[in-house]
C-alpha cells in the first residue's frame, strides 16, 4: 500500500510539472497549428536563465522564474515574428517547412547554449531541494510539491485567461477562424505572436520548476519534448484541461511503469500511451471531457 501510495504521489507531483510545459505546447500546436519542435529547447533556455540568476545573484529558481518567463516571452515573440511567421503562408516545396524551421531553431538554440555554458551538467542545488515531509509512510518532497502548486496555478490562470478575457477569447477565435477574427478587429498576427510567446514563457516556467529538483545541460530537453507531444496528443490539441489531465496521467503512468516494471522502460510507457491514443482515441481526452 505504501508502495502504491508513494508511486501515485510521485507520479502526480511530477505530472503537474509536465502539464505546465505541455500546456504551452498545446497552446502553440492547437491554437496556431504550429508543430513547434523548438519548445523543449526553449524550456532549456528558461532553465539556464534561472541557473545564471541563481549562480550570479543567488536568486532561488522559483523567483528566477519570473525574469526567465519575461525573457523567454520576448524570445518567443521575436522567434515567431521574425522567423516562423515568415515561413507561414509562404508557398514552399515542402509544406512541412515550418516544422523543419522549428527543429533547426531548437538545435541552433541548443548549440548557442552549449557555446555559452559548455555541455557540462549544472545544478541549482539548495538545501531546500532535499527537504520533504512524511505522511503515512510516504515521503512528499517539498520542491516537488511547490513545483506542483505553482504548476496548477499557472494552468488555472491560463484557463481563466483563455475563457474569461477578451484577449484569451481572441486567441481561441484566431485559432478557429483567422479571417473571421480579423473581421472582429483582432490583429491576428499580434495574437499569434502573443500565443507563441506565452507558450514559450510557460515552457520556461516548467523549466524553472524542474531546476531545483534535477539538473540541466544543453540536451536536457529531448525527453521533455517527447513528453509534451505525448501529453498534447493524449489531452487533445489546444485544450488546457486536456493538457492538465494528460500531464497528470503521463506522470502517474510513467512512475507506475518504472516502479512495477523497470526503471529502464519508463519512457516506453509514454510511447505506448502515445500509440494507443492515436489508434483508439484520436481526439484525445478533450473529446471525452468536453474542453
Amino acid at each position: 500500500m505504501a508502495l502504491f501510495g508513494q508511486t501515485f504521489v510521485t507520479g502526480i507531483l511530477i505530472g503537474g510539472i509536465y502539464a505546465v510545459i505541455a500546456v504551452g505546447m498545446t497552446l502553440i500546436m492547437g491554437v496556431m497549428k504550429i508543430i513547434n519542435l523548438a519548445h523543449g529547447a526553449l524550456m532549456m533556455v528558461g532553465m539556464y536563465v534561472c541557473l545564471a540568476l541563481f549562480k550570479s545573484f543567488g536568486l532561488h529558481p522559483y523567483l528566477g522564474m519570473i525574469p526567465a518567463m519575461i525573457i523567454l516571452f520576448g524570445i518567443g515573440w521575436l522567434l515567431q515574428k521574425y522567423s516562423i511567421e515568415r515561413v507561414f503562408g509562404v508557398e514552399t516545396i515542402l509544406p512541412e517547412s515550418q516544422v523543419l524551421l522549428t527543429l533547426a531553431l531548437g538545435l541552433g538554440i541548443t548549440e548557442i547554449i552549449r557555446l555559452i555554458f559548455t555541455s557540462n551538467y549544472q545544478c541549482a542545488y539548495t538545501p531546500f531541494s532535499a527537504r520533504c515531509f512524511y505522511l503515512g509512510g510516504m515521503s512528499i518532497s517539498q520542491p516537488y510539491l511547490v513545483g506542483f502548486i505553482i504548476a496548477m496555478a499557472f494552468v488555472a490562470a491560463l484557463h481563466i485567461l483563455l475563457t474569461r478575457t477578451d484577449l484569451g477569447r481572441s486567441v481561441i477565435a484566431t485559432a478557429q477562424d483567422r479571417d473571421a477574427a480579423t473581421y472582429m478587429g483582432v490583429d491576428a498576427k499580434r495574437i499569434t505572436n502573443f500565443t507563441f510567446a506565452l507558450g514559450t514563457a510557460l515552457a520556461a516556467a516548467g523549466g524553472a520548476m524542474l531546476l531545483p529538483i534535477f539538473y540541466t545541460y544543453p540536451d536536457v530537453w529531448h525527453p521533455y519534448l517527447a513528453k509534451c507531444f505525448i501529453i498534447t496528443i493524449l489531452g487533445g490539441m489546444g485544450s488546457t484541461v486536456g493538457a492538465l489531465s494528460g500531464g497528470l496521467l503521463l506522470g502517474v503512468a510513467e512512475t507506475f511503469g518504472a516502479t512495477y516494471w523497470s526503471p529502464g522502460y519508463r519512457d516506453v510507457v509514454g510511447l505506448i500511451i502515445f500509440v494507443l491514443v492515436l489508434l483508439f482515441l484520436p481526439g484525445g481526452l478533450k473529446k471525452v471531457i468536453g474542453r
Binding site: A2, L3, Q6, T7, T10, G11, I14, V45, Y48, V49, L51, A52, L53, K55, S56, I71, I75, L78, L79, Y82, S83, R86, G108, I109, I112, I113, I116, F117, T118, S119, N120, Y121, Q122, C123, Y125, P127, S129, A130, C132, Y134, S139, S141, L210, I213, F214, Y215, Y217, V220, E254, T255, F256, G257, A258, T259, Y260, S262, P263, G264, R266, D267
Partner: protein
C-alpha cells in the same frame, strides 16, 4: 530571406548573450593547461615532436571524470619534467570526446591519421573506451586506457591496446567480497537490491556481481538497470524500498549518484549498508551534489592515498602521497582513483618511451607497443604489469594488470578508507543509522 535569418540568428545570439553574460555565471574555466613544453631547440629536431594524443571526455555529462584525468596527467607531466626524449620534444594533442562514443571514435581516428600521434592515452567511460580501443587497434596505434573498465575491452585480444592502471569492472568489487564475508554477512545482510546504469560499464559490472551474491547465498530482491541520464529515480527507489533489502549495491555515474543519494534520503530508503561501485561515488563532486546525504555511503574504490607506493622515473623520485598533495594544492580538490589512474597512465607511458630510447631504438608506434608489452612498473596504483592471464571467473585478459581495490565510506562529509583494515583512515560504520535518526 537569407539576410533576415542571419539577422535573426545574430539577434538571438545577442539576446542570449545579454541574458547570460552576467558576472560570475561564466562556466568554470578549465584550469590552465601546462605551458607549452617545447623549449627553443637550436638544431631542428630530426623527426619532429613525439606526439601523444589525449582523448578524454572534457565537457558534457562525464566531464568531471575527464577533467580529473587530464589534470592528473598534467601533474604527472610536470612532476617528472621530461620535455624531450632523444632530442625530440614531447607534445600533447588533446581531444574532447564529450563522453559520446561516436565522437570518441572519430577523435581517435583523427589523432591516429591526421595528427599521426605515436601514442594515445584516454578513455573514461566504458562506452567510449570500447570504440576508442577498437579504432586504435584497427589503425595500429598504441593506446593506454585510463579508466574505461568494461572487461571486454582487454578481453578482445587487441594487441595495440594496454590496460594501464585501470581495473576491469568485474574486479571493482574484489575488496568488497572480503568485506561482505567478514563484516556484512555476520552483521545480518541477507537480501540485496542491485541497480546499475544501463550502458556498458553498469551491465558488465552487474554481470560480475551477481554470481558473487549467489555463491554466498545472498538473495537479490531487486535487480534492474536504469538510465543514468534520467532525472527522477523515485519510482525505482520506491520499488527498492518495498523490496526491503538489507543492502543496496549501486553502479552509478556522477549526476545519477548525487540524485540517488538525495532521493534515497527523501524516501527514507533505510538499509544496513549502501554500497556504490566506485564511479561517481568516490568523486569530490558527489559531495557537492548530495550534500550531507553522502554520509555513510560506502563505495568500492580502486585507489587510496594511504599505501606507501613509491618509485623513481627519469631520475625523479615520487610517492603516492605526493600525487595526492600536488593535486589538492593545484586544483584545490581531492583526487580519487580516476585521477590516480590518469597519473599512472603518464608514468606508464613515460616509462615505455624512456625504455625505447634507452635501447637506442627510434621512438615510433611499433617500438612503443613492444615496450608497453614489457611494462612492469610501480605506479600510484601499485605495481602494473601488462600480462595475459585468466581470472577465477574465467575472464581471459590481454595486456592487463590488476591494481588493488579498497572500500571507502563518507563520514562527516569526508571520504575515508575503511577496508582493508591495514589501509584504513577511519573505522567503518555498520550498520548505518536510519535517515530519520541522523
Amino acid at each position: 530571406m537569407k539576410k533576415v535569418k542571419l539577422g535573426l540568428v545574430l539577434g538571438l545570439a545577442v539576446v542570449l548573450v545579454a541574458a547570460f553574460a552576467l558576472p560570475g555565471c561564466v562556466p568554470e574555466a578549465a584550469p590552465p593547461v601546462a605551458p607549452p613544453v617545447a623549449p627553443p631547440v637550436v638544431p631542428p629536431p630530426p623527426a619532429g615532436p613525439i606526439k601523444i594524443g589525449i582523448n578524454l571526455s572534457l565537457t558534457g555529462p562525464k566531464a568531471s571524470f575527464g577533467v580529473i584525468d587530464r589534470n592528473s596527467l598534467e601533474i604527472a607531466r610536470a612532476k617528472f619534467g621530461v620535455t624531450e626524449i632523444g632530442g625530440r620534444p614531447i607534445a600533447f594533442i588533446v581531444e574532447d570526446n564529450r563522453g559520446d562514443p561516436s565522437i570518441a571514435k572519430s577523435a581517435e581516428e583523427k589523432l591516429a591519421t591526421l595528427d599521426k600521434v605515436d601514442l594515445i592515452i584516454g578513455g573514461y567511460s566504458s562506452a567510449c573506451g570500447v570504440t576508442q580501443a577498437a579504432a586504435a587497434n584497427d589503425l595500429k596505434v598504441p593506446h593506454i586506457l585510463v579508466n574505461a573498465s568494461k572487461d571486454d575491452i582487454t578481453m578482445a585480444n587487441y594487441e595495440w591496446v594496454f590496460s594501464g592502471a585501470r581495473v576491469p569492472a568485474s574486479h571493482y568489487a574484489d575488496a568488497m567480497w572480503s568485506f561482505v564475508d567478514e563484516v556484512l554477512i555476520p552483521g545480518g545482510v541477507k537480501k540485496v537490491a542491485l541497480f546499475y546504469e544501463m550502458t556498458d560499464w553498469g551491465t558488465s559490472s552487474a554481470k560480475g556481481l551477481r554470481p558473487g551474491f549467489e555463491k554466498r547465498g545472498i538473495e537479490l530482491v531487486y535487480d534492474s538497470p536504469y538510465d543514468s541520464t534520467a532525472t527522477d529515480f523515485k519510482p525505482m527507489l520506491t520499488a527498492v524500498k518495498a523490496a526491503k533489502p538489507d543492502m543496496i549495491v549501486a553502479v552509478s555515474y556522477l549526476m545519477d549518484a548525487g540524485l540517488l543519494a538525495r532521493q534515497a534520503a527523501e524516501l527514507r530508503v533505510n538499509v544496513l549498508c549502501y554500497m556504490g561501485q566506485a564511479g561517481g561515488y568516490t568523486m569530490p563532486e558527489f559531495l557537492k551534489l548530495a550534500g550531507e546525504n553522502v554520509n555513510y555511503t560506502m563505495s568500492t574504490a580502486n585507489w587510496s592515498r594511504i599505501p606507501a607506493w613509491k618509485g623513481e622515473i627519469a631520475g625523479v623520485k615520487w610517492t603516492n602521497q605526493e600525487y595526492y598533495d600536488a593535486y589538492l594544492e593545484t586544483y584545490n580538490a581531492e583526487p580519487d582513483y580516476h585521477g590516480s589512474q590518469g597519473f599512472a597512465a603518464w608514468q606508464i607511458a613515460l616509462d615505455a618511451l624512456l625504455r625505447v630510447d634507452a635501447a637506442g631504438k627510434p621512438i615510433n608506434r611499433e617500438n612503443i607497443k613492444a615496450a608497453l608489452e614489457e611494462t612492469k612498473l610501480m605506479t600510484t596504483m601499485g605495481l602494473i604489469e601488462h600480462k595475459e592471464w585468466t581470472d577465477d571467473m574465467g575472464h581471459h585478459y590481454y595486456n592487463q594488470g590488476l591494481p588493488l581495490t579498497y572500500i571507502v565510506q563518507w563520514l562527516n562529509m569526508k571520504q575515508e578508507i575503511i577496508w582493508p583494515l591495514e589501509g584504513k583512515t577511519a573505522d567503518y560504520v555498520f550498520p548505518v543509522p536510519k535517515y530519520e535518526e541522523r
